[in-house]
């Protein structure tokens, strides 16, 4: 049973090459950490008149983790979030928070809180009153409220702003107040709707890590929705890629990047070279794949559970494609082409190499390494090679 992916039934006879959690640099999955689930979504569906926004999804979120729903606009992630918050009524399914099904509860009775994309601060109240609002609804005694408000302001470093009004604050300050307000009631689950969406670029990069620090220091479980893959990869412990109302892949950032489970995931995160190939032969430790775009076969060190002669896709990340002026010695896993374009980005260069078949392969090279490979430049004839482990075989 797959540990980190939940929606994929698995039927192969592939022997394990890496153990889960052994992928260097990846945090152990929540189940391994013995965390208990805070939120369980079962069969959640939302139909509008003529289309399905969320299609029968299941998801479990564990205590203390930061979970990201990643997808482009229209994929259903915002609808899903709103159903969790209570602003949309699901057409079907269950939302179980701490063991209780909250599907029929109105938003003001749920023990989760949401930070809105536009922050939605109450314009006619001060910062302090904004934060205290939720506590007043709970009928908390007044001195406790002011203590909690103080604590929250300290958390987001806004102690001096308690009497300001929202229109007197800048975008970043409003975000902090919105965060403080949504944490004030110490909810079981914190929902973030495009948390960085309203900030400008510089502020965004700084706030990402700060936000994660604040959330981790409080220890609250967090579900965020975003379309920005960098944001998801930086901030989240686990990510679910969503497309057209369904989860495509669920896993940690590293796993999603290194082991996408389909073309969509591979192409969604980062850059990727995608090849349409045909499986020539597959043994227990060994597979040979013929690609239309270059003569030599691709060789993998594991077997593939489809019949010989069937089509297969091979994905390769550009940073794992090595570019060189020297012809490799191996029989497999390389091809030759001409450098058509180079994008110089300061720290890396992206080489666009055109193969004789017409296909363009991207290869990224840190600029400090250019010396080692002989400074390839425009119109050079170069060789592209890769390790067998760098290839990701996908059947769709």
């Amino acid at each position: 049973m797959e540990n980190s992916t939940e929606t994929t039934p698995l039927k192969t006879s592939v022997k394990q090459v890496h153990r889960p959690g052994e992928l260097p640099g990846q945090k152990a999955s929540p189940i391994e950490q013995n965390k208990k689930p805070i939120l369980e979504i079962k069969g959640l569906t939302k139909n509008f008149n003529n289309f399905t926004a969320v299609n029968n999804v299941d998801l479990t979120i564990y205590e203390g983790e930061i979970f990201a729903l990643l997808g482009s606009s229209g994929c259903g992630k915002s609808t899903l979030l709103r159903m969790l918050a209570g602003f949309e009524k699901p057409s079907d399914g269950h939302i179980i928070l701490d063991g209780n099904d909250i599907v029929d509860l109105p938003p003001y009775k749920r023990t989760l809180n949401m930070m809105f994309q536009s922050y939605a601060l109450f314009p006619y109240m001060t910062v302090g009153q904004n934060i205290a609002f939720g506590l007043k609804q709970e009928k908390m005694p007044r001195n406790e409220i002011s203590k909690r408000v103080e604590k929250m302001l300290k958390l987001v470093h806004m102690e001096d702003y308690v009497d300001r009004r929202p229109y007197q604050l800048s975008g970043g300050q409003r975000q902090r107040v919105a965060l403080a307000r949504s944490l004030a009631k110490e909810p079981r689950l914190l929902l973030l709707d495009e948390p960085m969406g309203a900030l400008d670029k510089k502020l965004r990069e700084q706030m990402r890590l700060e936000l994660v620090d604040i959330i981790n220091s409080v220890g609250v479980t967090c579900l965020m929705v975003t379309h920005d893959q960098e944001e998801a990869m930086t901030m989240a412990d686990r990510i679910a890629i969503m497309d057209r109302g369904e989860f495509v892949q669920i896993g940690g950032p590293r796993e999603i990047y290194e082991n996408p489970n389909c073309r969509f995931s591979a192409e969604f995160i980062g850059q990727v070279n995608m090849f349409d190939c045909i499986l020539t032969k597959s043994d227990v430790k060994h597979s040979l794949i013929a690609c239309n775009d270059f003569p030599r076969p691709i060789e993998l060190l594991h077997d593939i559970d489809i019949a010989d002669g069937m089509p297969i896709s091979i994905a390769m990340r550009p940073e794992k494609v090595y570019i060189s002026h020297d012809e490799p010695e191996e029989e497999t896993n390389w091809c030759a082409g001409t450098v058509e374009n180079i994008a110089y980005l300061g720290d890396i260069s992206i080489y666009y190499v055109r193969l004789p078949s017409g296909k363009i392969i991207t290869s990224t090279l840190p600029n400090v390494d250019r010396f080692n490979v002989g400074f390839p430049t425009w119109d050079d004839k170069v060789y592209l090679s890769w390790d067998p482990e760098s290839c990701i075989a996908l059947t769709f």
Binding site: T8, K11, Q16, N47, S91, D92, N259, A393
Partner: protein, 321 residues
């Protein structure tokens, strides 16, 4: 299972594995919502819809010396229910040999149309002038233009009476300047009615025009001028189309009520300014013929039904409703 196996595992087929989503009908409003809807709804049904049904019903009856002064529609005779529909009111209206009613309908439409046009011709430049002012002056001017409509309507018509009389101000000034020898007969004419209607309804035309002029994208005007369009052409091709919704809204707000105007033709108009609103009033108050008045009202409504529905549909399309 190995992590690698994730590479080649089939993504769980969305349509194959999972059961098809259940069809859920339109969400029902909650009970609380229904109460909230109910309150204004009830008021409107009670005090708006039902009255019109009553008018409709009474238009099929005849006057009687009774309280209320019309014959009942439904009677019981020998245990059987009879419904008597008198069509005399409608035959009176449509087949009257003098054609009084038909003529007055046509007259009302004519007066209303011309007044609407006049309001548009006068109102558009005013709205343009207002929209192009600085924001501080604009506020003051806006209030100044709207303020007269806050003072009593009847009083303002009365003011025009004093101005337009034979020995009123205009005639006095013109005669003392020697421009005319005899006072001009202005009161009790159609001319006075037009002045009255334009005077009272002008703000209703200016307001929608103004608000749609404020929303105009002036870069389109500049583009037209940049491409060589002369001013008049720019005006009609680049500016006016963008204010279409304001023009229509303003015109409807003037035209439809103007058809049924009573006070202005009564005070400022003459014997031949018989607009249909006056006829309704006279039938009701002077002749005490409620059924005929009702029939006049229903006929009036049918004339106006189409503009009203068009206005309503247009407002919905524009998102004003």
């Amino acid at each position: 299972m190995s992590v690698f196996s994730a590479n080649i595992v089939k993504k769980s087929s969305p349509k194959g594995h999972k059961p098809p989503p259940r069809f859920v009908p339109q969400e029902k409003n909650s009970f609380k919502e229904r109460i909230i809807i109910f309150i204004p709804y009830l008021w409107m049904v009670l005090f708006f819809l039902i009255p019109f049904l009553i008018i409709f019903k009474i238009s099929f009856s005849v006057t009687e010396i009774a309280i209320p002064p019309y014959s009942p529609l439904v009677t019981f005779e020998e245990g059987a229910m009879q419904i008597i529909l008198h069509l005399e009111n409608y035959t009176n209206i449509f087949l009257d040999p003098d054609g009084t009613y038909m003529r007055s309908y046509l007259k009302s439409i004519e007066v209303a149309s011309i007044s609407t046009l006049l309001c548009l011709i006068i109102g558009y430049p005013v709205a343009m002038a207002l929209a192009s002012c600085k924001s501080t002056t604009r506020n003051i001017l806006f209030i100044l233009i709207i303020m007269p409509s806050w003072t009593s309507f009847v009083v303002r018509i009365y003011a025009w009476m004093t101005i337009l009389k034979k020995d009123g101000i205009i005639n006095d000034i013109l005669m003392s300047l020697g421009i005319i020898d005899e006072p001009i007969h202005m009161l009790q004419t159609d001319f006075a009615v037009y002045i009255g209607i334009v005077y009272c309804y002008l703000p209703y035309m200016v307001l929608p025009l103004f608000s749609s002029l404020m929303k105009v994208d002036y870069s389109l005007i500049e583009a037209a001028q940049d491409l060589g369009c002369r001013p008049i052409k720019t005006f009609f091709k680049a500016l006016v189309p963008q204010t279409k919704s304001g023009i229509i809204a303003g015109s409807m707000l003037v035209f439809i009520p103007a058809i049924g105007e009573y006070v202005i033709p009564e005070l400022l108009g003459g014997k031949d300014s018989i607009l249909i609103g006056r006829i309704l009033w006279q039938e009701f108050f002077n002749n005490r013929d409620w059924p005929l008045a009702s029939a006049v009202a229903i006929t009036m409504l049918s004339i106006m039904a189409i503009p009203i529905i068009l206005f309503f549909k247009y407002q919905r399309k524009q998102g004003e409703l």
